[in-house]
């Protein structure tokens, strides 16, 4: 598998722009791309959403089905998040077994949803120790232009908020129990500067990235650092400030 080689000239150009607090697409360093959210488009799913952030395009379907609980949590529903980096999304996504990137994506989105306790899993028991509701969140990445984790998280939240309970006698709650709206923001570091919502070419030249998932009150419920570079403590604190502003803006798209 050939990695895409970003020509030195392009890399130098992006870095030079960052030094002047500028970006190749004209955004400010703390500015995310235009986002659009569409929900309810897949009727075979209990809930669905499609998010486009710039040219990154992700679709999520939520299915709620009966299943067996884990032995150590007999009264709790189950959350399962999986992701497919579809080969159509990028020439670098070859078909085959899940790559590390798609596993990481699924697990970080899972963490944001699970740790924020946004789904009341303890209300999803049907028969203690025998049968519970399982919430499957399946992420399909259709087009890759950077910042996949944050876009997938937003699409997953929009899909959950859109979820209608299954038409089944065993479902007794008035609606699907969502009580929190976690939102993830990714900040990339390029030559000492912090950029919100990196595009693909910015990700190709960055030193490192930090994804922060925040609850509605601004507290953190999940974080993930990626990339081969590093962050200083000040940079991490600064990233949190940037994330808080941007999370608030993104959350508005959830309605």
């Amino acid at each position: 598998m050939m990695a895409e080689i970003v020509a030195k000239v392009k890399r130098d150009y992006i870095v030079a722009l960052a030094q002047q607090d500028k970006r190749a697409d004209g955004r400010a360093l703390n500015q995310a791309r235009q986002a659009s959210v569409e929900t309810g488009l897949i009727t075979t799913a209990n809930g669905s959403a499609r998010v486009k952030l710039g040219n990154t395009h992700v679709l999520v379907g939520v299915k709620v089905e009966k299943g067996e609980p884990f032995p150590d949590t007999p009264d709790s529903g189950i959350l399962m998040v999986s992701a497919e980096l579809l080969p159509m999304a990028s020439p670098t996504f070859e078909p085959g077994p899940p790559r590390a990137e798609s596993v990481e994506l699924a697990r970080v989105v899972d963490r944001g949803i699970r740790e924020s306790e946004c789904i009341e899993l303890d209300k999803l028991s049907i028969k203690s120790g025998e049968e519970v509701w399982t919430v499957f969140i399946d992420i399909d990445v259709l087009d890759h232009d950077g910042n996949l984790i944050a876009v997938a998280e937003l699409a997953a939240m929009a899909a959950l908020l859109n979820t209608k309970p299954p038409e089944d006698k065993a479902w007794t709650l008035p609606k699907f129990p969502i009580v929190e709206r976690p939102v993830a923001v990714t900040v990339a570091k390029i030559d000492g500067k912090l950029l919100v919502d990196p595009s693909l070419e910015e990700e190709q030249v960055m030193d490192a990235r930090l994804t922060l998932t925040l609850k509605e009150d601004g507290s953190l419920c999940a974080m993930q650092k990626g990339g081969i570079g590093y962050f200083t403590q000040e940079e991490v604190a600064q990233a949190y400030v940037l994330a808080k502003e941007n999370a608030r803006e993104l959350r508005k798209l959830l309605g």
Partner: protein
């Protein structure tokens, strides 16, 4: 007999003509009938028909000037990505235009992986093996600075214009130097960053509107506004 008009938008499988016309790109013949093989614009002449594709990869042609990126190095040269299904080989002797004693010289000082190089296509064989060269021609070789953009190779003729008219307008109105590769890659170098960005915008505008009329004037107007406005 022609079954379509000139400059008409056609799709694969559409009947263009029947008769003893010469055929060039974008069409194929079945018996007496000539059909389009791509989405494109018809280009019809008295004795010859073709369809200009509106989309497609760059296929290397001898004598083309191209902008390549070094993706691999071997003992006597480098492999260059040409924004094409086919990579090109650049031997060090073809880069420098002279014979090189590989025992005496360490060629890695000339090019590294990721370098951008402007070269000419010296030769293409039937298996699409591509030989590149830069020797002896000024302006060819490694690019040290500038902004690179990639547009669809099918739009490059429009960037150059009739007898280079569009290219002249771009360079005169921005004060930048543009190196236009047939493979869709263009290097823009200039001292004024604003004018470099204006050139980039103009190029993307040409890509979007390549087959409309009055484009040359619109581009000139847009660049004059930027120059005067000094944004």
């Amino acid at each position: 007999m022609m079954h379509v008009q000139n400059r008409q938008l056609v799709v694969p499988g559409e009947l263009i003509a029947d008769g003893p016309y010469r055929t060039r790109e974008g069409v194929f013949r079945e018996g007496n009938f000539i059909y389009s093989s791509v989405v494109g614009l018809t280009d019809l002449h008295e004795k010859e028909v073709r369809v200009i594709p509106l989309q497609g990869k760059y296929m290397p042609l001898r004598d083309d000037l191209v902008v390549g990126v070094v993706v691999d190095a071997f003992s006597s040269g480098w492999a260059l990505d040409l924004n094409s299904p086919y990579t090109g080989k650049l031997f060090v002797s073809s880069l420098l235009g002279r014979k090189v004693d590989l025992n005496r010289e360490d060629i890695s000082k000339y090019l590294s992986i990721g370098d951008v190089v402007v070269v000419r296509i010296d030769d293409v064989d039937e298996e699409l093996n591509v030989m590149l060269g830069a020797g002896g021609e000024p302006g060819l070789g490694r690019i040290k600075e500038g902004k690179i953009i990639e547009i669809s190779p099918t739009k490059i003729p429009r960037v150059l214009g009739k007898k280079g008219s569009m290219l002249r307008i771009l360079e005169e109105n921005t004060g930048c130097r543009l190196t236009v590769g047939q493979n869709g890659r263009i290097v823009i170098s200039g001292k004024d960053q604003n004018m470099v960005n204006a050139a980039v915008e103009a190029l993307f505008m040409i890509e979007r509107e390549a087959h409309t009329s009055g484009l040359t004037d619109r581009v000139r107007l847009m660049l004059e506004k930027t120059r005067i406005g000094g944004s």
